[in-house]
Symmetry: C2
Subunit: 347 residues, 2 copies
DNA sequence: CTGAAAGCGCTTACAG
DNA sequence: CTGAAAGCGCTTACAG
């Protein structure tokens, strides 16, 4: 009655070859206690039969599931594909599977998602927390991907340095007045980016910050950002804190007849999928997600293998900051000379 | 030495309560062979101890892992968040976990990804195949999400009907000449959408199709699409076969000083995350991913539970076509009267 | 170098 | 209504 996998198991291979299951197990796992000749014979036969080891049996015996959990605040987040891909790749390279869990918004769902993963017996998990959530202890090692500003150790891109990259780029292009455009002033990531930009401004440059969420709170969701007026006021560069906002900025400017980058430069963050596709293509700052995932996963594996702190939250080794990288595309260009627009044209 | 989960197990609960493990198991699983009183006591005690059942033990015994696999052609695909979210939700609602696997491009990687999932003991899997791939048998039930044009049974959005929705919308707005913009002429999904659009044209309307891939093959990746000229030629509506292309179309038009939607309408497909964010917001056709995921997952669970065809590929019940839904936003509007541009202004 | 045996935690007939 | 026992497939000391 029990729905058992129809495939062969160790014991079938063993009897069929007239050896013990222990020997088959050893031969297959390559622990080296079996004669080379026998190893060859066993492996060959196993392959012939299409033997697939039972994770369940192994997990029960070893206490390891070989699976990592990935908890996301909201899968709909456009950054998610990159995160998931990078984590999946890092995990698969280490022979681990990845179980996903979406916390769909609120914090209680996040806790539930974590519990679901624990129940499934993950050996560890990577959590991208909801804004400013502190992760309560899960009964397995946990690596958190977030800003340095989040309490506890985390791995993350160096958002501050990323901001400085933007500032330096805009300074190079001769921009003086910069409008920083963010979504949510509560976001640690966004605040780090703002801090980086501001700290990287050269003498003579100034920046203001526009928070879309605040604006929409008053003017309604999807309201115009009033950027044309900002251009008139003398802002020549619009530094969005994410490509999603950059896209909004770019299209609003273009809709209002402002040429990008001739009249205004636009930059973003994250190098999301569409950033290279729009016209003009978006200058942006990219996280090294593969590196971040690699650090998170190897910290997890380390902790799993050494067995330290198997209970209770265990975070990554240090506050790792992975450098970001500037990608210059067509949406940013030299600032127009401020007062004498038409001179210097052919210089 | 074995790294066993430190938490309590059935036997600990049993001895601590002076009953048998069988009784504890029955009480917890609610099979109803235990007196209500005892059930209460056992449950309470289990909760106190923070008992979490071992999936490994259960899986080994029942032959079910409680996990479904999700194989994706490329996680970087912007549609992925919606698919993953919908599948995760449907699976979680049914008490299943979701293991992801990225086939990162080529077909061999897809086979590997499927194998990895089988090795992890998934009870079934959902596959979003690479373009025109036929899924080779995996040793568990498989549901395929793709177009009807793919060989074998699949679940999918009704892309053809989605195309008709676009055609009807553009007809309503008085558009006569439509430029369909696709990425890849090999894509079944895109071809279905084209077919739907063409079949839905009213008398007096005509459509041409522009394949970006072909154009880029000649003119280089990221080349201009030459849409301004198309507007001059009399095309008043640009129907992209995906929001990603729609975004490219929209920004190129705007960059070239063409007002959307006053001078040209733009529509897309899929309602991707940024579609509502751009200015003007994108009119698009949306798949009902939740419905699609629900169908795929329940077909899988059905097959898992009835135990039919546990070996070999098993696909979903019928070729299920889930209707798409038109979302009208600001990027589409009435066609300009063709010849007499300035008349009728106040009609 | 090879094998016999124990046991991971669970569920499920089967007795009582 | 409750319990004793078997067994899912594996790995790992321990003997030989």
């Amino acid at each position: 009655m029990a729905q058992l996998r129809p495939g062969p198991n160790l014991s079938r291979i063993a009897t069929s070859l007239g050896v013990s299951v222990a020997t088959v197990s050893n031969a297959l796992s390559g622990k080296g206690r079996v004669s080379e000749q026998l190893v060859g014979k066993i492996r060959e036969h196993a392959a012939e039969l299409g033997y697939v080891p039972s994770q369940a049996g192994r997990a029960l015996r070893t206490g390891r599931s070989g699976v990592l959990g990935l908890v996301l605040p909201d899968i709909a987040n456009p950054l998610f594909p990159k995160i998931a891909q990078a984590i999946e790749f890092a995990a698969a390279s280490a022979g681990y599977g990845v179980l996903i869990a979406d916390s769909r918004g609120d914090v209680s769902a996040q806790t539930e998602a974590i519990n679901r993963l624990v129940e499934r017996g993950v050996d560890g998990m990577v959590i991208v927390p909801r804004r400013a959530t502190r992760i309560s202890a899960a009964s397995c090692p946990v690596a958190v991907i977030d800003t340095a500003s989040t309490p506890g150790n985390t791995v993350a891109a160096d958002h501050w340095q990323g901001g400085q990259l933007i500032a330096a780029h805009l300074a190079d292009l001769g921009h003086k007045r910069i409008l920083i455009i963010g979504n949510n002033p509560e976001s640690n990531v966004q605040n780090d980016r703002v801090g980086g930009i501001r700290s990287g401004l050269c003498p003579g440059m100034s920046a203001e910050t526009l928070w879309i969420e605040k604006l929409e709170h008053q003017a309604g969701s999807g309201c115009p950002l009033g950027l044309a007026r900002k251009v008139e006021e003398g802002f020549s560069a619009f530094a969005a804190l994410s490509d999603l906002q950059a896209l909004r900025v770019l299209t609003e400017l273009q809709r209002d007849g402002i040429d990008v980058p001739a009249e205004a430069s636009v930059t973003g963050f994250d190098d999301l999928i569409w950033s290279a596709v729009v016209t003009p293509a978006l200058t942006t700052v990219k996280m090294d997600m593969d590196a971040i995932a690699e650090i998170a996963v190897s910290a997890l594996l380390n902790s799993i293998n050494t067995g330290r702190t198997r209970e209770g939250t265990l975070v990554t080794a240090e506050n790792d900051r992975v450098p970001m990288q500037l990608i210059i595309r067509q949406s940013s260009g030299p600032a127009k000379p401020v007062q004498e627009n038409l001179q210097m044209e052919n210089s």
